[in-house]
């Protein structure tokens, strides 16, 4: 399940909802990763485009990986503008086992940064500027060059 929010994610409500929904399902470990917009480089905030069809397929592949390890993933992301100190990203792993949870959240978040079809823009002086220098080419890029 991927939850897409217009603008900032309501973090407290989302964490509460996820915790409550899995609380009785016998997962011993719950690890959310919450990403919050930092005040840096004189930005006013960040803005995001998401291509949902491929994001959902990417996520479902990871859900299969998690399932093979007895674990379960959730994710939320913003589209549009997210201002300073608001949050744009949460992913979470639920697992019976501590080691599985700690390893999976790391692998999942790192692959998310590399391959999830989401584009980031800095909001500066009211403009939306593609954060190209912080972006990474998806695996397989350059096929048509």
């Amino acid at each position: 399940m991927v939850e897409i929010f217009e603008g900032a994610i309501p973090v407290e409500e989302t964490l509460s909802k996820w915790y409550k929904s899995e609380k009785s399902r016998n997962y011993g470990a719950f690890i959310p990763f919450v990403g919050t917009v930092r005040d840096e480089d004189s930005i006013e905030g960040l803005s995001f485009d998401i291509y949902e069809p491929i994001l959902l397929k990417w996520f479902e592949k990871w859900q299969e990986v998690a399932k093979e390890r007895g674990a379960f993933l959730k994710m939320a992301h913003s589209k549009g503008d997210v201002l300073l100190h608001e949050s744009s990203y949460i992913s979470a792993v639920f697992s019976p086992k501590r080691r599985v949870a700690l390893e999976l959240i790391d692998e999942f978040v790192e692959d998310f940064k590399k391959n999830a079809p989401i584009w980031k823009y800095d909001l500066k002086n009211g403009k939306r500027i593609y954060a190209e220098e912080r972006s990474q080419k998806i695996a397989g890029s350059g096929l048509l060059k």
């Binding site: 940064k113 989401i118 890029s141 350059g142 096929l143 048509l144």
Partner: protein, 73 residues
């Protein structure tokens, strides 16, 4: 007819073209000054699956997406 869409920051309207392989599409796009600079940076999806083979044959109705460098989170 193949539909081509340009995602994220590329900022170009969808195209419809008559091609039968990705290679042919690459030749057409490399002649478009707005797009050619993106080709080396973009991954390619056919019907929302990222592909790795340029010789792949296309069928009428296929949707091709160009995915420029990403940065979620």
């Amino acid at each position: 007819m193949i539909k081509v869409e340009f995602l994220g920051p590329i900022g170009k309207e969808n195209l419809e073209v008559e091609v039968s392989t990705l290679s042919e599409l690459g030749e057409i796009l490399s002649k478009d000054d707005e797009i050619s600079e993106w080709l080396s940076k973009c991954a390619i999806a056919v019907n929302d699956e990222i592909v790795f083979n340029k010789d792949r044959e296309l069928q009428s109705g296929d949707k091709i997406s160009l995915l420029p460098p990403v940065c979620g989170g």
